[in-house]
């Protein structure tokens, strides 16, 4: 025990171990830099919901299984309950609050409303983030691809059929005229 503590003290002194107290970090969230103090053990989900007040990101299982806490790190959809805030570094974080502008909704959000892909709504922000990420890399996903993209999400109300329907409708919508 004493040896461990001595080793830990040495490691802290040498800069090998951060914390356990508060550390200053900068998170780039939805296009803005935020300075905040977090403990090393603080997850990204906790940092977003707590000090940053971005409560659209939900914590349901807190062990990386249900995907309710899905946000984007750069273009990658991740479970923010399983990422430490201090390891995000300079990657861009996009949360449900930053997915669309103030005026307009993201097409996935529109489609969720149109197809009632929502019940209690607690898992919905995470599902929207995964579906929007899918659409960004694959504008015309088929049923299998949609089901795979949301396979990590748990929804106890059972919105999966309407989520799939909403995404299929988006995938077959007319493309905007690029000319």
């Amino acid at each position: 025990m004493a040896n461990e503590r001595r080793n830990e003290d040495k490691a802290v002194a040498a800069g090998h171990i951060a914390g356990p107290g508060l550390l200053p970090i900068v998170l780039q969230v939805n296009g803005e830099d935020h300075d905040l103090m977090v403990e090393p053990r603080t997850t990204l989900a906790e940092a977003l919901r707590g000090p940053l007040g971005l409560t659209g990101t939900k914590i349901a299982c807190n062990h990386g299984v249900c995907s309710a806490c899905t946000v984007w790190l750069d273009d990658l959809a991740v479970a923010s309950c399983s990422v430490l805030a201090i390891e995000v570094g300079e990657r861009r974080i996009t949360t449900i609050e930053g997915l669309a502008g103030q005026e307009h909704l993201h097409p996935v959000q529109e489609a969720f409303i149109a197809h009632d892909a929502i019940q209690c709504g607690f898992c919905t922000p995470g599902l929207v983030m995964s579906c929007a990420a899918l659409l960004a890399r694959n504008p015309h996903p088929d049923r299998k691809e949609i089901e795979t993209a949301i396979s990590g999400h748990l929804c106890r109300c059972g919105t999966y059929p309407h989520v799939v329907q909403a995404m299929l409708a988006l995938g077959t919508r007319e493309e905007p005229d690029l000319e």
Binding site: T55, G56, I59, A60, F112, D116, R156, C157
Partner: protein
């Protein structure tokens, strides 16, 4: 006193819309609105208005209880028993209370009989709680609580608990303190022998022995169902804030008004000084209906700390200590004549709700198919396990698994098609139509003999029926306000737990006032508004939509009187058309809604209506609760594919045919039926709480090892919704949640039998259970 309110005669639509409607004459209270025509002629009701809170939910703006943060708010954590059975020798909170950042600490375990020692009866039972400035400080402080336990012998397996030498969970004098998972009766009215309580004998009738003697055919089966946990995505959560005027609570609850009553009683406050609010609510399924120990704990901590306190369960706490669906072991025998006529039903059941009671498998076996001779004896088995509570279709979901498989087995013995047998023994014309439609959509006529596929992948089709009482909460009120600028609000303490009742309220009010649902401001989930119904038992829509329509109609009548007086016409001649008020057949006497509202004498007018009795009366009433004359039904048809080498069952397709009176928002109903089916598939194939019988600990208190159905496991679901007019209320709408869930596991089990020719009588039907049933691996209960 003896002034009966005046009544009048009304002709109301009656029957199934797709088969052609008749009318029924009812004597209705004079202060209820005129008859509402069928949906086909309406502008808002029966249409798919977008969910009222959809935008807030897809943007993350919706505010759930876990998102509520008040200035100076503290965070609570709960110390839980590590022992399944122990005497609490001593507890010392002083070090925890003095820890940095800690503002309050209290013991929460109490003796069942005052003066007796505190006994803990399951792993995870709350012992003490603290409130601190951060969740981490609260968690750390728990470790400073000095508790001395005296571990006692325990039993977690219901079969073992029934044995005479099993450690006893309760002593007789403690029975009236046992929590109820079912009807709110006291356990003390039943005999207790060891851990076995009962029998409860509510549905027996006739002479069962004579009935079996008259039977040409008898089926006899033992059915077992597992413990399922609710798995709400939003955990149990409360923010409690004491202040000089009383208590404010934000709670993830299915019943704001009920929790207010419980808090007021517990803390000795007037109802007027307790306010319970919930905005968005992340799922309940029966587990968030009560104040609960967690609710009391948060409020007590807030009073002690003189600060707001938030208590949010972790997922493992959810799994161990937020309720569950009780297990069942059902011995069901059914006798019938050779033409299918039922002569006797005998159901002897044992169920375990852990330390709670009320694990009976519902009334479906005694109510779905009339039979003159019925014996229904139920025994609760106490175990050292977390208490059950109501869960979507409580009782009947377990009961349907046994009953609907037995009926199929009976059909096979009688060489009858399962649908044909049900046509003979089920007198309900609505059920008959549901079976007909479901059979047509699933392709029932193509159904083959059991185990027809020669290869290892075997397909099968099966069906089962739901039954659920059409519940109504009589203590239900709704207010509609019209402001002088034409804006309209609908207000009630009713909460939207994901069913979309807010949308439904906006549609009903909009219909009556000739407006669009989006123009109605929905203000619900707050006990400052008229008391709404609970969101459980499939009673919300049935309870709240009639008073919502009545209140809107009364506001409209008041506005009409104002305009009629200004125009010097009879108010009876006024109508609303295309967003304007006009004299019938006189388009020149016409005024827009806003102009009309501007003529009001005061800034706003308002009407509050209560839930009138159903126009044709109720079948049963008790306190605030009543049951409508006709039950809610539903027939579900499932197609499965069983891999007989791996044991994996895939549910390919479900056709769910349901009735809920007048549908208000068909798409929201479709969402809810899909959800009920998916919860049923998950129950049938995957979910099971597993307790370690050596330690009493739950082995899968998470979402990794407790398997929930995901998108890739979901079948194609076709929802067929009947418009079933009964002329029962101002809205004629009833509920859907429970019936959507009740039949699913039974329909899948019948389909599995059709696929493999072996009946699986135990849930969940995991790959191991399938391989055992096929005799390919040893073990199992089949």
């Amino acid at each position: 006193m003896n002034d009966e309110p005046p009544r009048r005669r009304e002709q109301l639509p009656f029957g199934l819309a797709h088969l052609g409607l008749e009318t029924v004459e009812r004597d209705i209270p004079a202060d209820e609105p005129p008859a509402l025509g069928p949906n086909a002629g309406l502008r808002q009701i029966g249409k798919n208005a977008p969910r009222w809170d959809a935008r807030a939910k897809v943007t993350g703006a919706a505010r759930y209880t876990v998102d509520v943060a008040l200035p100076g708010m503290l965070h609570a954590a709960v110390l839980r028993s590590p022992w399944p059975h122990a005497r609490l020798r001593s507890i010392d909170l002083s070090r925890a209370a003095a820890a940095p950042g800690v503002h309050a600490a209290l013991g929460v375990a109490e003796p069942l009989v005052s003066g007796k020692p505190i006994v803990l009866r399951y792993v995870g039972q709350p012992v003490a709680a603290v409130a601190a400035e951060t969740p981490a400080l609260a968690q750390a402080a728990l470790q400073l609580i000095d508790v001395r336990y005296e571990p006692l012998p325990f039993v977690t397996d219901p079969d073992r608990a029934r044995q005479a030498d099993a450690p006893a969970v309760y002593q007789k004098p403690e029975l009236d303190k046992v929590p109820s998972a079912g009807l709110p009766a006291s356990a003390a009215v039943y005999p207790l022998s060891g851990n076995v309580l009962g029998p409860e004998n509510r549905n027996s009738r006739g002479d069962v022995a004579a009935g079996f003697a008259a039977a040409a055919v008898v089926v006899d089966g033992m059915y077992r169902t597992q413990v399922q946990t609710h798995c709400c995505m939003e955990p149990h959560a409360i923010v409690a804030s004491w202040h000089e005027d009383g208590l404010d609570v934000w709670m993830s609850t299915q019943f704001t008004a009920g929790v207010r009553v419980q808090l007021a009683r517990h803390f000795g406050l007037p109802l007027s000084r307790v306010r319970v609010q919930v905005q968005a609510m992340g799922g309940g399924f029966g587990s968030k209906s009560q104040m609960g120990l967690y609710g009391r704990t948060a409020a007590s901590l807030s009073r002690l700390a003189r600060a707001p306190v938030r208590l949010v369960y972790r997922r493992d706490e959810e799994q161990m200590d937020s309720g569950n669906r009780p297990s069942s072991a059902q011995h069901l025998r059914i006798g019938a004549r050779s033409d299918g006529t039922l002569t006797a039903i005998s159901l002897h059941s044992h169920g375990s709700a852990g330390i709670a009671f009320g694990a009976a498998p519902g009334g479906i076996a005694s109510a779905l198919y009339p039979c003159p001779n019925m014996e229904s004896l139920h025994y609760d088995v106490f175990t050292h396990a977390g208490p059950s509570c109501a869960m979507r279709g409580p009782g009947n979901t377990q009961g349907a698994f046994a009953l609907e498989q037995s009926i199929d087995e009976l059909a096979e013995k009688l060489a009858l098609d399962p649908v044909v047998l049900r046509d003979r023994i089920d007198p309900s014309p609505v059920h008959r139509e549901e079976r007909r439609l479901g059979a047509e959509r699933i392709g029932w006529s193509q159904r083959r003999a059991p185990a027809s596929d020669p290869g290892p992948l075997k397909r099968g089709v099966g069906m089962a029926q739901s039954l659920w009482p059409a519940n109504v909460q009589l203590n239900t009120a709704c207010e509609v306000r019209l402001w002088r600028d034409g804006s309209v609000e609908v207000l009630s303490s009713v909460q939207d737990i994901g069913t979309g009742v807010g949308t439904v309220l906006a549609q009903v009010v909009a219909e009556e006032l000739g407006l669009e649902p989006a123009a109605i401001r929905v203000r619900i989930g707050d006990t400052e508004f008229p008391s709404g119904p609970p969101s459980y038992g499939s009673r919300t829509t049935a309870s709240i939509t009639p008073p919502a329509r009545t209140a809107a109609w009364r506001v409209k009548e008041a506005l009409f009187r104002t305009i009629a007086s200004a125009w010097q016409v009879d108010a009876q001649t006024l109508i609303i058309q295309d967003g304007a008020i006009q004299v019938r057949n006189d388009p020149h006497r016409r005024i827009s809604w806003r102009e009309a509202a501007a003529a009001l004498r005061t800034d706003r007018i308002s009407a509050t209506a209560g839930r009138a009795d159903d126009y044709a009366g109720f079948r049963h009433r008790s306190g605030d609760a009543a049951i409508a004359l006709n039950d809610l039904g539903g027939a579900q048809f499932a197609e499965v594919e069983v891999d007989t080498e791996s044991g994996v069952i895939r549910v390919l397709r479900v056709v769910a045919v349901h009735d809920c009176g007048r549908p208000i928002n068909p798409r929201q109903i479709e969402s809810q039926v899909q959800g009920g089916v998916l919860m049923g598939v998950s129950y049938a194939l995957m979910e099971e709480r597993i307790l370690d019988s050596n330690t009493g600990w739950m082995l899968n208190p998470n979402f990794i090892d407790y398997k929930l159905l995901g998108a890739q496991d979901a079948p194609d679901i076709e929802v067929v919704l009947l418009e079933n007019y009964q002329g029962f209320s101002a809205s004629d709408a009833y509920g859907i949640s429970e019936p959507a869930n009740i039949a699913t596991a039974a329909a899948i089990a019948n389909a599995v039998y059709n696929a493999i020719g072996v009946r699986i009588r135990s849930l969940p039907m995991t790959p191991a259970a399938v391989l055992q049933a096929l005799g390919m691996v040893p073990g199992g209960r089949h």
